[in-house]
């Protein structure tokens, strides 16, 4: 408070006529000291204005103001300002009348007036001040009482004051709702009688604890008839009494249960989902990795490692920067992941930045999907499509070539026989010429002999006869080759109209293997390891061709190596049942298949053999035939360690038709 502010403010009402005014009044009041502000008014309106400010502690009204004096006192009293009446001439009756009108005190302007008035005023000021303070305190108490009553009545928590033996002294409406009784009906009743049975035991425990003077709870009680959940507490009050609080927490309980459920669902989802889930901190280090991620990354405990260690190439690194530093969301970007063992895999990434409650970045979550299998599938589909179109082309070509090749080949064969016959004739003609000799018997014979000799020399007839035979034999060989190509093409492309039958794969493989082994003159070690196989629904002739092609291939592979390195060739046959499939593996210890060849090995017309030795259709046909059965053909060939061709055939034909080529 500033020092200029007065401590007390006193109003003085003096007569309007200046000669009526008594300077002793002001002198007396100035004894109140510097802290007192004295304000003098002479008429009613000015007084009212000042009273309206409600800042004055006391009003002194002089009797000389006249008839107005008492009503002015009344007005001051009405405004809460205590009035002191200054009696000049009036007697006790005037004092009584003043008290009637609301004056708090009367001072007679006698000889000691100047010392009495400030004392009377101060006394009034003290009284009004303490009165005001009490009023203010009362109002505050009143307000607090109202507030607590409102709160107690409005809050959903059931409140009850219990006495030392557990009777309810007072209760709020929430308590009566809980018990199903009115507030009035609850008063004085034992708690046990009022509470639902399901709450009693817990309520009793917390009440007894509070009755011993300790705070008790929170304790949970489950399920009244409606399946609600409650939180019960009690607090000790004075004189052995306790306050019992019962809050319904069904919703909170439900929320907690839902949160728990969500958490478990999330965990299950993340732990078991097919994809890999990674959470990174803002520096790109792994905070969490699900089992899918461990598998994909080839790392049993990736937590704490820098994600950059796995990322190969700029795309992946740029992506990390985009998500972690620029807060971008990423979907379906393909990157390459390199595992600690050096293997790498194409991976599709979806990533989103994470934020804390304040919105600051705190890392990212990423979902990775291994694309290796998908890529493999894509390659297979492409391969199948390629096979299909090549198959159609091959079928057309084979058919168109069939007829002309038919007569070219047959004619060449006939011509070769003709040439043999004509060569014999030619030998006899030469014998005839020799018999005629140098001196023919007749001139006609001589001329004919000379012409013959000249022509033989001119056309080099002996060479022609020789070379004609050679030319025809070579052409025949060429047409024979074309005939085989056409046959291969036909096998590659032909549509099977025969019915599927159930066949014993082991038996078919074994008989084919024995034929090939015989052809190899038993020079290769043949190991057979046949598992128990269910009968397979198939086109047996087509599968025989599959086994034949694989076995011939294996044979050629080991022959090549045996020739080069002189080691003993070995072909291993292994069959087994696996799920709804049978698997046949043909393994050789030949020279193996380099990776660049492996890529193209099933392509039609791709061959590594010498011209004329292979058409490049063997494995393509094999592939097509296996696919026609809804199966798969794959090859594994560790560098320089031979090769394993694996055929997987479904026991039952696939529904809706196999991916057939024409």
């Amino acid at each position: 408070m500033s020092t200029d502010e007065p401590v007390v403010r006193v109003l003085v009402v003096e007569p309007q006529q200046a000669d009526q005014r008594d300077p002793a009044t002001l002198r007396a009041l100035q004894r109140l000291g510097k802290g007192a502000r004295i304000e003098v008014v002479h008429e009613r309106d000015a007084l009212r204005r000042l009273l309206a400010g409600a800042v004055h502690d006391c009003a002194v009204v002089d009797e000389r103001v006249g008839a107005e004096a008492l009503p002015l006192l009344a007005e001051a009293a009405h405004a809460g300002v205590p009035g002191v009446f200054l009696i000049r001439t009036g007697g006790d009756a005037a004092a009584v009348e003043a008290f009637d009108q609301g004056a708090r005190d009367c001072v007679r302007a006698g000889p000691d007036f100047e010392s009495i008035l400030p004392v009377a005023v101060l006394d009034q000021i003290r009284r009004v001040r303490s009165e005001r303070a009490r009023n203010e305190a009362d109002a505050r108490i009143q307000w607090l009482e109202n507030l607590s009553r409102t709160v107690v009545e409005a809050i959903p928590t059931a409140l009850a004051v219990l006495d030392a033996v557990g009777n309810v002294l007072r209760a709020n409406p929430a308590f009566s709702r809980l018990c199903g009784r009115s507030v009035e009906a609850s008063a004085g009743r034992p708690l046990r009688e009022l509470l639902p049975d399901s709450l009693w035991s817990v309520a009793e425990a917390v009440w007894r604890e509070a009755a011993r003077g300790n705070g008790a709870g929170p304790r949970f009680a489950k399920g009244d008839a409606a399946g609600r959940a409650f939180d019960l507490r009690a607090a000790p009050l004075s004189e052995g009494r306790s306050l019992l609080l019962v809050s319904e927490v069904t919703e909170v309980e439900d929320l907690l249960r839902q949160v728990g459920h969500l958490r478990r669902t999330n965990e299950d989802l993340i732990q078991n989902m097919n994809g890999a889930v990674l959470m990174l901190d803002s520096t790109g280090h792994v905070r969490f990795a699900n089992p899918g991620a461990l598998e994909l990354l080839g790392d049993a405990s990736p937590e704490g490692r820098d994600a950059r260690a796995w990322i190969q190439g700029d795309t992946g690194r740029d992506l990390l920067v985009a998500v972690l530093e620029r807060g971008e969301r990423i979907r379906g970007v393909e990157i390459v992941v390199r595992r600690p063992d050096g293997a790498s895999a194409p991976v599709a990434v979806a990533a989103a930045p994470l934020h804390d409650e304040g919105g600051s970045p705190r890392g990212a979550v990423a979902i990775l999907q291994d694309l290796s299998e998908l890529k493999q599938l894509q390659r297979q589909v492409l391969q199948t499509e390629k096979m299909a179109s090549i198959g159609q082309l091959a079928a057309g070509v084979a058919h168109e070539i069939n007829n002309p090749m038919g007569f070219v080949h047959a004619n060449l064969y006939q011509v070769s026989e003709y040439v043999d016959d004509l060569t014999r004739v030619w030998d006899q003609v030469r014998g005839l010429r020799r018999a005629i000799g140098d001196a023919p018997a007749t001139p006609e014979l001589r001329r004919a002999a000379e012409l013959f000799d000249a022509t033989v020399e001119e056309v080099e007839a002996d060479f022609l006869v020789d070379d004609l035979g050679k030319a025809v034999r070579e052409s025949l060989e060429g047409s024979e080759r074309v005939r085989h190509i056409v046959q291969d093409l036909r096998a590659f492309s032909h549509q099977d109209t025969a019915e599927r039958t159930l066949a014993d794969i082991n038996k078919a493989l074994d008989s084919t293997a024995n034929i090939v082994w015989t052809m190899m003159k038993h020079s290769v070690k043949l190991t057979k390891d046949y598992g128990d196989l269910p009968p397979v629904s198939c086109y047996p002739m087509q599968l025989k061709q599959v086994w034949m092609n694989l076995l011939v291939n294996a044979t050629q592979a080991v022959e090549q190596r045996m020739g080069a390195e002189g080691i003993r060739g070995e072909i291993r046959l292994h069959t087994r049942a696996e799920g709804g499939s049978v698997v046949v593996e043909v393994t050789d210890n030949g020279s193996g298949i380099p990776p660049e060849v492996r890529e193209r090995i099933f392509e039609p017309f791709f061959t590594t053999k010498e011209v004329g030795e292979g058409t490049g259709l063997g494995l393509a046909t094999t592939y097509t035939l296996v696919r026609r059965h809804g199966g798969e053909l794959s090859v594994a060939s560790p560098e320089g360690e031979g090769a394993t061709f694996r055929v997987r055939l479904p026991v039952e034909p696939p529904q809706g038709g196999s991916p057939e080529t024409p």
């Binding site: 038919g406 007569f407 070219v408 080949h409 006939q414 005939r483 056409v486 046959q487 019915e499």
Partner: protein
């Protein structure tokens, strides 16, 4: 043309007929030709009606415009069951065992044919071995 059992060759491609005739020139058979299934059936019908020397064997191509070799052979099996039947086809695998039995084929020879094999099959069909 040699003397011997009568054989009818059926193909819509004259060069095939000519090549087949060359193949069989030295065989103990008497060869005649037809350029279509209709022509072949007409020849067989006429032969059965008018001729004392029956046609013993038909060697037919499969793929011909109009009536195919299989249809022709089916027809022959119905009308002239005693005539032996050989089918020349680019797609031997397309004819399964039951179909062969139904058609009563003596042989199924793939095309382009192997001369020796064809002659062997023809002789066998005519019981000339």
């Amino acid at each position: 043309m040699s003397e011997g059992p009568r054989v009818l060759l059926v193909d819509d491609e004259p060069r095939i007929l000519s090549a087949l005739q060359r193949s069989l020139r030295r065989e103990p058979v008497s060869v005649e030709t037809a350029g279509s299934a209709a022509e072949a059936l007409a020849a067989l019908d006429r032969n059965a009606r008018e001729d004392a020397d029956p046609i013993r064997l038909v060697v037919s191509d499969q793929k011909m415009p109009g009536c195919s070799g299989i249809e022709l052979i089916g027809e022959i099996a119905a009308r002239h069951p005693s005539v032996r039947r050989i089918l020349l086809t680019g797609w031997p695998e397309s004819i399964d065992e039951p179909e062969r039995v139904r058609l009563g084929l003596s042989a199924l020879v793939s095309k382009p044919w192997d001369d020796q094999e064809l002659k062997r099959e023809i002789r066998a069909a005519l019981d000339l071995v």
